[in-house]
């Protein structure tokens, strides 16, 4: 019988600073790990513990994996101290992943904020695998300040991949180094270039952002079944057994972590 609690030995090959608080950890597990965009991994820092993260890398690559992580707690503090060559552990993947099959032939709206851009990058890699499968891929990224926008070095390249891809960015408040759009990411949803009835929206970010993105999407005509949200809960076992990641009767680790808003809209205080 397989022991699902055993972490696969994994070499930390490289660390890329994305922002002052976010680093991308480039990992090589002892055996290839196949994952779908949106599924998550449990990443172990030996002796410190494990925490759940959705990879930010291309799901078509199994030998290596990148995970972009905000320094924000015990495990992530320890991770940010690690240097290339360190050994960590991986378990997973867990969860359902993004509903890519539903997105074919549709306008796809991708809304990310802060470190929420990390799982979104993995989704984008999956979409960019064949952009022609989708009518449009409209990306809206926001961050507190310019330096907090992850993956900026890649934006131009992504926009140039196909004519149906567009990317807009915003920062929360005006900043001397920024001459682009200013305002919360919801302000980028005011003039959407998608056909709302033929669209799906996928969003990842802090819960407060998810709440206002959802309200805005409903306001511009999206229905709850068209909205997918990467919900935030403490996920530990990854298998629907340890109990702590529930949203109503769903366990995010097996039913999510990306949940169709239609399923969870009646859960009280769903956004905390």
């Amino acid at each position: 019988m397989k022991n699902p609690y055993y972490p696969i030995d994994t070499i930390l090959e490289d660390v890329i600073s994305e922002t002052p608080t976010i680093k991308t950890f480039c990992l090589k597990p002892a055996k290839p790990i196949k994952f779908k965009a949106g599924q998550f991994m449990q990443l172990t820092v030996p002796g410190v513990g494990e925490a759940p993260f959705t990879p930010s890398s291309d799901p078509n690559i199994e030998e290596k994996m990148e995970i972009s992580i905000l320094k924000t707690g015990k495990v992530t503090d320890a991770l940010h101290e690690l240097k290339p060559g360190a050994v960590v552990g991986l378990r997973g993947p867990f969860g359902k992943g993004y509903p890519l099959e539903k997105l074919a032939g549709k306008d796809v709206l991708v809304v990310g904020g802060g470190v929420g851009l990390a799982p979104m990058r993995s989704l984008l890699y999956a979409l960019f695998n064949d952009p022609s499968k989708y009518k449009k891929i409209e990306i809206k990224f926001g961050a507190r300040e310019p330096a907090e926008l992850s993956f900026r070095r890649q934006y131009k390249e992504w926009e140039g991949l196909a004519s149906n891809i567009s990317l807009k960015t915003t920062i929360d408040v005006a900043h001397p180094d920024w001459d682009g759009h200013v305002g919360l990411v919801t302000t980028l949803l005011d003039d959407l270039d998608v056909s709302v009835p033929e669209s799906y929206a996928l969003s990842c970010g802090p819960e407060i952002m998810l709440k206002f993105v959802t309200l805005k999407l409903l306001e511009v005509g999206f229905t709850p079944p068209q909205i997918y949200l990467s919900m935030n809960r403490k996920m530990s076992c990854g298998m629907g057994k340890c109990g702590r990641c529930n949203v109503g009767h769903y366990y995010l680790c097996v039913d999510g972590p990306d949940m169709c808003y239609d399923k969870i809209k009646d859960v009280p205080n769903v956004f905390g």
Partner: protein, 349 residues
């Protein structure tokens, strides 16, 4: 159905003790409560009781240990878990109807579906269960409200009911049938009238349960009213008494939640699994200190909703078998039956 004399039953247990660690319910003199005790030598300990009502300890604790190591790392290819790495097996005597039902519910989480917990599964597969009829009930027992009964119905290898100078024995599995067959000499035909005696005992206990719980709602009638009470002040009222000790969840035979944490051990690291409680504030806390249930009332409420609303939706069953342990254990005297009475009354007002 067969009959076995008390002396022969002890002989049978002595023989079965070779198949795993033997546990029997033993009455503690000062408290009068039954505790599951390991039997390492015979005769059976003074105070061994095979009828009575459920012991303080649950069956769950045998399948899901309080705290144990689930992995060591880094190491090479240790993710294959061999059964011999694990446990010798258990022979558990005196499990009651409420605990058998609870085990069936926890099995549906830990040992079924896409992911199976191998540690739990091995312990369950190696657990020989000899269940027994209740001959009485406690003030806190309410199995009759949850669709269970104070006698074994399924989920056992053998079931015994105390009558005359011994026990009526029924087989509930192939393993149980094999035990009766292999030890044929210890068993005899059931004398006329004994089955009737057992049925009268059962009727007596059930009517006592019904009398004790006559003012409380049945579990099946709780879920719908509960769904209307999500934002009611009742949860703040109940929480005002709760001391957040987690006893209710630790003592519960269907509470299965656990915590994984890592420890250093020389050059190696160990991953430990430990019971956890949704009643304590750190249970769902994430990095950055956010938690979906910051108030005690959110957490008190969660216990009731998880068992009576969420699990019926995800696992098709109310996860409560009316054992009443949470009522006995609560230092704030929170009684689930009374909470649900209030819920039903308020929701239907």
């Amino acid at each position: 159905m067969r009959f076995i004399d008390s002396t022969d039953f002890e002989k049978l247990l002595k023989k079965l003790s070779a198949e795993g660690e033997l546990f029997v319910p033993v009455k503690e003199e000062d408290t009068g409560k039954l505790h599951m005790r390991r039997v390492e030598s015979f005769p059976l300990p003074d105070g061994t009781v095979f009828d009575g009502f459920r012991a303080v300890e649950t069956l769950k604790g045998f399948a899901q240990h309080l705290r144990f190591e689930v992995a060591q790392y880094p190491s090479e290819e240790k993710d294959e878990l061999k059964p011999e790495d694990s446990f010798p097996g258990y022979v558990i005597v005196g499990a009651k109807g409420c605990d058998l039902k609870a085990m069936e519910l926890v099995d549906s989480v830990q040992a079924e579906g896409d992911y199976i917990d191998p540690f739990y599964k091995i312990r369950r597969d190696r657990m020989l269960v000899i269940a027994s009829d209740c001959s009485e009930c406690s003030e806190s027992c309410f199995c009759n409200l949850t669709g269970s009964n104070p006698w074994p119905e399924k989920g056992y290898d053998l079931a015994i009911a105390k009558v005359a100078s011994g026990f009526l024995v029924e087989e509930g599995s192939e393993r149980g049938a094999g035990i009766i067959e292999e030890n044929g000499g210890l068993f005899s035909e059931v004398r006329e009238g004994l089955e009737k005696t057992r049925d009268e005992n059962r009727k007596k206990v059930l009517s006592q349960l019904k009398a004790n719980n006559k003012s409380y709602p049945e579990s099946a009638e709780v879920t719908e009213p509960l769904r209307k009470m999500l934002n009611d002040e009742i949860w703040t009222e109940e929480a005002s008494r709760c001391v957040e000790c987690g006893a209710c969840t630790n003592i519960c035979p269907t509470c299965y939640c656990f915590l994984l944490f890592d420890q250093k051990d020389g050059e190696q690291y160990k991953r430990i699994m430990s019971w956890d409680s949704c009643q304590v504030s750190g249970y769902s806390r994430m990095a950055g200190m956010g938690t979906p249930r910051p108030r005690l009332s959110d957490r008190v409420k969660h216990r009731f909703y998880h068992k009576y609303d969420y699990l019926p939706l995800s696992h098709n069953a109310v996860f409560c078998t009316g054992c009443g342990r949470c009522i006995d254990a609560c230092s704030a005297s929170i009684d689930m039956r009374e909470v649900f009475s209030k819920v039903v009354t308020k929701a239907t007002r």
